[in-house]
Amino acid sequence: MHRTKLFDHVILMMGVFFMVGPLLVALMTSSHEAAEIHRNGLSILPGGHFVDTYTKVLTKEGGFTGKITGVRMMMNSLILGIGFAAGKIILSMLAAYALVYFRFRFATITFWMIFTTLLLPLEVRILPSYEVMNTLKLTNTYSGLIVPLLASATGTFYFRQFFKSIPDELLEAARIDGAGPFKFFIDVIVPLSKTMIAAIFIIMFVYGWNQYLWPTLMTTDESFFTLVRGIKQILLVWVGSNIPDYNEAFALAILAMVPPVMIVMIFQRWFIKGLTESDK
């Protein structure tokens, strides 16, 4: 066994300092008043306005139309993040299932075509995608926000690699046991993929949660605004008596971090359990 030495701790503590430091500063600063922040800059000590700032951020009706609250934005972000992750997982699992378990013409070419789109980021096709959604009258809807982003080369690729590592005999045993393609998928493939699903869910949720450009394009109705957009909006719009509400921006940033952190924590346990138990 390697014995941990003082030096190891120092390195770890430095890591913690650099990771957690900024968060702490943001949290502390958010509990001061905007004017105070404007005067004194960032703060590492708690101020006295923690509860009222956060209550205000979550419930105050703001925006041009004065209808959008922090809670609403959080809901929107959650819908986007979860819809995005769940949709991507379902779609890429089905695509990978078809690629691995069904012999159809051009399967390999299809796979490589999907694979090469990995190289194209969303931004490359963002305008055509917008055009399509606009024509379909799907702007300012959740479907319009989520569906165009669902096709996932990354997800398909990972699931394909994973399915390929499942022994063929399992499929054969299932065939003899009378399980058709659908039953085999639900009864064997999905449970075996739990670990994979958890891992991809984490990645995709955070990716969806942090989307900025696409929601900005797709939604003009403020009731569809996400938290990430909201932060930007505060600094532009919620200007009270000349000073931007820095405290609220910080509070919103902190709030924006909570769900992804929770998702990671919840799924991590599942994820690590799957890894160590090595189900195959």
Binding site: E169, E172, G178, V188
Partner: protein, 369 residues
Amino acid sequence: MAAINITNVSKIYAGGVEAVKSVSIDIEDGEFIVLVGPSGCGKSTLLRMVAGLEAISKGTVEIGDRVINDVEPAERDIAMVFQNYALYPHMTVYNNLAYGLKNRGTPKAEIDARVAEAARMLEIEQYLTRKPRALSGGQRQRVAMGRAIVRKPAAFLFDEPLSNLDAKLRVSMRGEIKQLQKRLGTTSLYVTHDQLEAMTLADRLVVLNGGQIEQIGRPLDVYHTPASTFVASFIGSPAMNLLRGTREGNQLHFGSQVLDVGRAAAFPGPITVGIRAEDLRIANTGEQALTLKVEYIEELGAQRLVHGTVDGKKLTASLSPEIGIGETLSLSIAPERLHFFDADTGKRLAQPSAASDGKRVEMLAIAEA
């Protein structure tokens, strides 16, 4: 329970490999047939065609009078045991056994009863709630057997089910499979590359070579009258000695060495002679004998394998450990115990009326010893 008739079955893989070449086997109801042969000879391919996991290129397979060429595996009324067990890793042992029954819509009470019965038979009752990963190799093998048994199929198909077990467990599981099959009376087709496993399990052996049947027969018949040099060298350990010689009159010539075979030559000229290691014995003085130049000795406890050369050709003799061994040995063999094969095709050449004579020589040999 049903008979299985395999008629002129061939398998041609994409790419043109003919893995199985026009194989016909008639398996009786309740019979235990073992397909044996070296790796790559097409055993698994044949079994998988019966199972429905591989399309049949030519010929027909019938299970109980029903041609099943185009029938789904699940509808063939067979159960298969795989080499790597192929248990569903995320299901408990109970669910592994029950899965096939559930898919068939068997009532819950009946599933419970059948799983309980199979578990009792295989002594895996205490593991029913465990996942396969919490079981040892032998226990997993039992579960895999259980999965086959609960279905009460017309036939069991085994593809090298014991290859992943250690030697000792393999021997005991072998015995259990044999007993279980006898008890259930289910027609079985079993694939192995291990000739010993094949000999001990089979009612009848099917020796395959390069996708073709070399011989079908009861284990002892195959052992005592191999149909070809391939079977002779594959079945039995140590492998049968095969010496090239020439037959002239009633004598066999191996280079300068001569062996009297007692009877007039039915097939003169070059010939391949097969000699089982245990049929060789130390020659009495004055008796005509082969001179073995000893190279090394393998001590197996109950017997002693003496490896050496006769006229430059390798020969192995199995002798009692009591016999002292010098640099050369004079070995003789009852002429009836010689096997003759065509020098070119390797096919067995019929030995006229050897059987009756063989018995008498055997008795004499016992009397001598």
